[in-house]
């Protein structure tokens, strides 16, 4: 119990988050009491600067503090806490192992940076108290999720995460935002329940639900149940895959991201989707055990699904005009890279997957932040509006380009490393024909990635004449494009609070690619442990 | 104490002669005499019951001291005495419950005629119950019919006369068959006294003679009595007869007259033929089938009906169906259930009729369903009474109907083939009963909007009609007692049946 302090960041963030929420509510009530029915929409509009400052201060301060505590907790050795028993032999149990460290670090870094970024960004979204309130809540929940030491605990926070994060999606309160949020919610819940179905069965056929490298499936219990158990596992994979945007439950991603505020979508596709990955890792490698799946139809189905997703995602992204939607689709395909890596059940694949978790988090988060900046500074959402943006904010666009390269996986950026490992894993695993199909698909999708990311850079820097003439846009559109290119002459970089996180992320994306050794070793260590 | 032996005979004679007596009396006195007489008969029957229970065996009273097989006999056992007492009680309550209607609906000049009819009826009922001689039974069956017919038609309007005619025709058919049947029996056995007939019949069966004629005569008698007690499909006359005659007539007819015939049938089963022969013959299957059909059809008709009196009348078709189904089971348990149902139906149905009259009084005299809205608030006691009656008919625990349902079901379970049909039929008819009775009850307690207040929506308090109130309350108590503590009654019936054979 002495290790109870590792939950302090959680308590901190949850406390502050709830405080902020209550504050915003109280304001609403007061507003209602104050001017009824004269002033409609009596919320959010009259925000005082001072109030805002305190909110930002509070939020960022909390985040930093929590981050310090979390990392401290994470990197101070394997600690474990048993809160209380939810049911007989099912405790709420936290245990920090390498996977936890890996994920929680990623989460923390991204979360802090995005938090700082959103202090500026959220000004034109309003309702900042509510936003930061939920933002902090989600952070707390995520930390718990990463720390959780058994399946039920993980499921608990998995669902809480869904519930806490969907207000972020519907933040701007527009109808389509709400609809998208509900879609996100119900897809995730559907996935969660499929997972739960599996958990019910695993609870019966596993010696315990506590995470063990290599799995806890008890053979004697399984023996009779060759029939139902694989089905249950596959359901779990698809279910948790929903969060990770894996086909067939991927459809929420492209809907939810564009309507959410950019920081939210950054967090979503940077981190939240990764929690799906985490869940799958935990289930496959720590409960069921790779040996149970290896060579079964479950593995092949899973692999097929991931590859389908990879290809389909990048294809859709390629055809998508709206930038954030395009990025969302690319998330779909990229996360399935990770899942593919997991699906081959080979150490190299696992390593690649873990690496890609971190890299993709950084990169995709960066991309969304840039998209956010485009939206924030010059209200541009569609790709074809971005022509000539490079004149205006070159730094941003350079970062964007860097991220793009990383995502495509061009050396020496980080993406290359992970994809290399993924391909390696696929080629050396004995998964029959898949070991060639897989890498091929990855390659194709990489090309597509290049196809849908780089044009923005090109047009951003060289809004050639072919842009204004070539594209089959209506004249009004053309005029706007020219106006942009004209107006783009004067540079106006965004505020530091937005730029700095971006730069840091870019640095990470590049740095991790330049000296991947430490990461690969760490990930490889885990891989060796579980397989 | 042996002079109690005479009571049964006295009671018949007394009721027979109080008829002419009340014809010379004035209206008021006739009523009082009638009441006093019924009470007296009741007490005598109770005394007989007590006596028989004391001695523990039935006694035979030979009229004019001619020994069998020539003389005419009266036989009183537990069951007879109990039935007599019970019929007297019901009769009394029915008379009380219908006082006002009688005086309003019947011309003053005809009123002590009414009392004559009632006396005759009671006399014939008692005779049917007590007599040990088949032909006497037949004679009193006819008297019963005539007086019942009088009760129907005494309220002068087209409906009643037509109903009376139909009733007459049907029951004449019935009694014709009955007569023929017992002629056959007499022909076969050469006896008219039940006990002797039984010996003879047993002898016949023992050496296997005359099986077909025996069967014919049995079926003739069964069918005859079935027709007279309005078993489906011979019930066409019943709704009009019960629906349009004055209340106490309706109550008496539904709860006593048909029951008299049924009791006679029971006696024929046990005393004349012998139940083992009956239960081995095919006749009871027919009775069973028609009984079940009656249960269903009667209820369905009742649902389709929207005149409350006729609805209740149809429901008695269903109840008669119950009774015959019980006979049809061909087990003593079934017969016990049927007899109990005779009792409980007598108690309930007359309650319903009287309550219904109380309800129609406060609904502008209309018996039409829509006009009864909210009547439960206007005439509280009648509303409560009707509710109790309905619940009892539906077979809700704590009321009489539940017990008989219980016994029917238990009797059915003892039977291998007829078990499921019976139970399913019970369940379905329960639902149907619920449909029409509860529909009415809910209607009674649906408050009427001021907009749709109809003419004649008065209110009646208990004080305004003390007699009727007393009758209703007693009926309610009777139902609850029968429902909560049926053990003694069942015990009487059981011992009575044992005494029969």
């Amino acid at each position: 119990m002495s290790d109870l302090w590792i939950l302090s960041p959680v308590l901190l963030t949850l406390g502050v988050g709830i405080f902020l929420l209550v504050w915003s509510f109280a304001e609403h009530i007061l507003a209602a009491k104050a001017f009824r029915p004269a002033e409609p929409a009596a919320g959010s509009k009259p925000e005082k600067e001072a109030g805002l400052k305190t909110v930002h201060g509070l939020a960022v301060g909390t985040l930093l503090a929590a981050a310090v505590l979390t990392l401290g907790a994470a990197w101070s050795g394997d600690r474990s806490v048993t809160l209380f028993y939810l049911m007989k032999d099912i405790p709420i149990y936290f245990h920090i192992d390498d996977i936890s460290r890996w994920f929680v670090t990623v989460v923390t870094v991204i979360w802090v940076l995005v938090g700082i970024y959103s202090t500026v960004y959220m000004q034109h979204e309003g309702e900042e108290k509510r936003f930061f309130g939920f933002y902090l809540l989600v952070y707390g929940v995520l930390v718990c999720l990463d720390f959780s030491g058994n399946l039920v605990t993980m499921y608990l926070f998995y669902e809480l995460m869904t519930l806490a994060s969907f207000p972020l999606v519907l933040h701007n309160g527009s109808r389509e935002a709400i609809m998208a949020a509900l879609k996100y919610l119900f897809y995730s819940l559907c996935g969660a329940y499929m997972g739960l179905f599996g958990i019910y069965f695993l609870y019966r056929y596993c010696s315990s639900l506590t995470f063990m490298p290599g799995g806890t499936l008890s053979p004697e219990a399984v023996s009779g149940q060759a029939g139902i158990l694989p089905v249950a596992v596959l359901l779990m994979l698809i279910g948790f895959g929903a969060k990770a945007g894996m086909f067939p439950l991927h459809a929420w991603l492209p809907t939810a991201h564009p309507v959410a505020p950019s920081p939210a979508s950054a967090a979503l596709s940077g981190i939240i989707v990764k929690s799906g990955v985490l869940a799958i890792i935990r289930v496959v490698y720590y409960i069921v055990g790779p040996d149970f799946l290896r060579g079964t139809w479950v593995q092949y189905t899973w692999m097929a699904l991931t590859l389908v997703t990879v290809f389909m995602g990048s294809l859709l992204a390629y055809r998508e005009p709206v930038l954030k939607k395009r990025l969302a689709y690319s998330t779909v395909s990229q996360v399935s890279y990770i899942l593919f890596g997991l699906a081959v059940l080979s150490p190299a694949g696992f390593t690649g997957a873990l690496l890609h978790v971190a890299f993709h988090a950084v990169v995709k988060c960066g991309l969304f932040l840039t998209a956010g900046i485009f939206l924030f500074c010059c209200g541009k959402t569609r790709v074809d509006q971005l022509a000539g943006i490079g004149r205006r904010m070159p730094a941003v666009l350079w970062c964007y380009t860097l991220f793009a390269l990383a995502l495509i996986g061009i050396p020496p950026t980080s993406g290359f490393v992970s994809k290399w490992y993924l391909a390696q894993g696929a080629l050396h695993a004995d998964i029959g024909v898949w070991s060639y199909v897989g890498p091929a698909v990855l390659l194709v999708s990489a090309l597509l990635t290049a196809g849908y990311l780089l044009p923005i850079t090109m047009k951003g820097f060289f809004p050639g004449q072919e842009e204004s003439s070539g594209s089959a846009e209506d004249t009004e559109q053309k005029q706007r494009v020219q106006a942009d290119t004209a107006g783009a002459a004067k540079r106006q970089e965004p505020k530091a609070a937005m730029l700095v996180p971006l730069l840091i992320l870019a640095a990470l994306a590049l740095g991790m690619g330049l000296l991947p050794g430490v990461f690969t070793d760490f990930a490889g260590g885990i891989a060796a442990l579980v397989i | 104490m042996d002079f109690i032996r005479n009571f049964s005979f006295f009671s018949i004679v007394l009721s027979l002669f109080s008829g002419p007596l009340s014809s010379i009396l004035g209206r008021k006195w006739a009523k009082r005499v009638n009441t006093a007489e019924i009470i007296l008969l009741g007490l005598m029957s109770v005394a007989v019951l007590w006596y028989v229970l004391q001695t523990g065996e039935a006694f035979v009273y030979t009229m004019g001291h001619f020994p069998a097989p020539w003389g005419n006999e009266i036989r009183a056992g537990v069951l007879e005495a109990f039935m007599a007492a019970f019929f007297c009680l019901i009769m009394l309550l029915c008379m009380w419950g219908g006082v006002r209607e009688r005086e309003s609906e019947i011309e003053a000049s005809k009123q002590n005629l009414y009392y004559i009819m009632v006396n005759l009826l009671l006399c014939s009922l008692l005779a049917l119950i007590y007599t040990n001689d088949l032909f006497t039974a037949y004679v009193f069956v006819e008297i019963n019919t005539i007086s019942a017919c009088g009760l129907i038609m005494i309220r002068q309007n087209g409906r009643t006369i037509e109903a009376a005619t139909r009733y007459m025709i049907m029951s004449l058919l019935g009694s014709g068959l009955l007569l023929l049947g017992l002629c056959f029996l007499y022909d076969l056995t050469g006896h008219l006294l039940m006990s002797n007939i039984q010996e003879a019949v047993h002898a016949l069966v023992a050496n296997g003679q005359y099986q077909t004629p025996l069967l014919v005569s049995i079926s003739l008698m069964c069918v005859g009595l079935a027709i007279k007690s309005a078993l489906f499909p011979f019930h066409t006359w019943l709704p009009d007869a019960y629906g349009y005659s004055t209340v106490s007539s309706a109550a008496i007819l539904s709860s006593l007259v048909s029951k008299g015939y049924i009791f006679l049938l029971v006696k024929i089963f046990y005393r004349v033929i012998g139940f083992d022969i009956i239960s081995s013959s095919k006749v009871i299957h027919v009775l069973f089938a028609f009984g079940i059909a009656g249960m269903i059809v009667g209820s369905v008709d009742a649902i389709r009906e929207n005149d409350i009196r006729r609805m209740i009348a149809y429901s008695s078709v269903a109840q008669i169906g119950y009774i015959y189904m019980g006979f049809g089971l061909g087990t003593t348990a079934g017969v016990i259930a049927s007899i109990y149902h005779v009792v409980c139906h007598a108690a309930t149905k007359s309650l319903l009729f009287i309550a219904a009259s109380g309800i129609t009084d406060v609904s502008g005299g209309s018996r039409h369903f829509e006009d009864l809205t909210g009547a439960g608030y206007r005439n509280k006691l009648a509303g409560v009474a009707f509710t109790v009656g309905s619940l009892s008919m539906v077979g809700v625990p704590m009321f009489a109907g539940f017990i008989s349902k219980l016994y029917f079901a238990q009797a059915a379970v003892g039977h291998t083939v007829k078990m499921l049909p019976t139970l399913i039929a019970l369940a379905i008819s329960t639902i149907l009963n619920a449909v029409y009775f509860m529909k009415t009850v809910i209607r009674l307690y649906t408050p009427v909007k001021d907009g749709e207040k109809k003419a004649g929506y008065g209110t009646i308090t208990v004080r305004q009609q003390p007699v009727k109130a007393v009758a209703l309350i007693l009926f309610i108590l009777l139902n609850v007692i029968l429902g909560l503590n049926a053990e003694p009654v069942i015990g009487l019936i059981r011992t009575g049946l044992e005494m029969f054979s």
């Binding site: 929409a41 039920v152 207000p167 179905f197 | 809700v396 016994y407 238990q410 003892g414 509860m438 053990e487």
Partner: protein, 493 residues
Amino acid sequence: MHIAIMITVVLLPILGGILIPMLPFHNRKQMLIYIEALVLVNSALIIAMLLDEPEEAFVLFRFTGDLRVSFHLDGLGRIFAAMAAVLWPLAVLYSFEYMKHEGHEATFFMFYVITYGITLGVAMADNILTMYFFFEMMSLVTLPLIMHTQTREAVLASRSYLYYMIGGAAFAFIGMIFILAYGTTSTFVPGGVLDPAKIGDKTNMMLFVYVLCFLGFSVKTAVWPFSSWLPRAGVAPTPVTALLHAVAVVNTGAFAAMRVTYYSFGTELLRGTWAQNVVMVLVIFTIVYGCSRALKETHLKRRLAWSTVSNLSYILFGVVLMTPLGLAGALCHMLFHSFMKICSFFCAGAVMYKTGRSYVHELDGLGRRMPKVFVIFTISGMALMGVPGLAGFVSKWQLAQAAVASENPLAWVGVGALLISALLTAIYMLTISVRAFFPGKDFDYSKVADAEDPNWLMLLPLTVFVLVIVLFGLHPQPFIRALQEVASVMTVS
């Protein structure tokens, strides 16, 4: 303590209730105080009785022969009685506020309190006849409560309610008869009372009768195809819908189903037979059916009613698993669901009472004005959909574990049904909360300016319920252990 206390707790509310319209109260306050006192005293008596645990049975009176109305408190009954004892005082408290604008309070509270006694009668019934007796009584005394508003709609609803109830009872009656005929005794014995010698080769018939009987009793539990009465009965005042049609009446049905399955027919006879499959298929179908209807329903209370339909079938699902674990799960869900559903119903009632809005699409933005109510509503909703840490998750866990352990493929399908219905539950509950809290960017708050949180009379019960829900969710161990003890009685036979 003398065992007569058992009859006391049954009769006290009935008689006290009948007195309500007769006593000469000077003002409303006195009446309310009398009622609350009555209910509290009774609950206190019940608690005392539960602690005292009287062993022997108390015979009230005999119908005929060995058919007697008698009470005996065993584990199952203890749970049910305890539940009633906790819920009633709170519900009454809530109704004090709610019934202000309904009128006819004396009559209302009379029947409301009488039902309390009847419920206990069912809980403590010692034999099937007694249970049937109170089962029917229950249908009758709740009828006026449904009719209370006395609109045409209410009358029709009460009519169909009655038809369903009596029809169900009629078929349950058949089962009862068979128990009497083929059982060694009519009293409830764990593991059943059927006498194999008597049954002989009539097994199939017994199974048929079991199906009839089960369905008959389950009519009160609104199992498909007998479910339509429950939403229609939603016209009753909310305290009725909440306490009776989410808890007392419907749980009576579930309770009766448990009794006949585990204590009368016995699971040995039934497990693995076609009868079990038939009822299980029906139940599983109902689980999904109820949720989908709830999804379609736009009237708030009716939506909750449909969700009740499906949740009750969770209980029945546990029952028809016919394993001790299943029974434990069923009991668990019976207990937890009662709190969750009464909580959400009371929230709905509070909304209707305060704003007069009863349709889902009218609730936009109310969350901002009635935050307490809607936060509680959301929590109960999340509990219903089974978010871990709240009551619903635990009971579903129990049920699913029982189903998985029963090694019966149909039961596995059932687990799937549970989760599908959980998803649907999420959809139809959370959409309400989302509407209430996030009505949309340009929502005109002046439309809901009049709304505000209700007073303590309503909030106190809500708070208690939500606390209980959380308690059940976070620390269910003691309860579950108790329930499993009760259920484990089955294994001995």
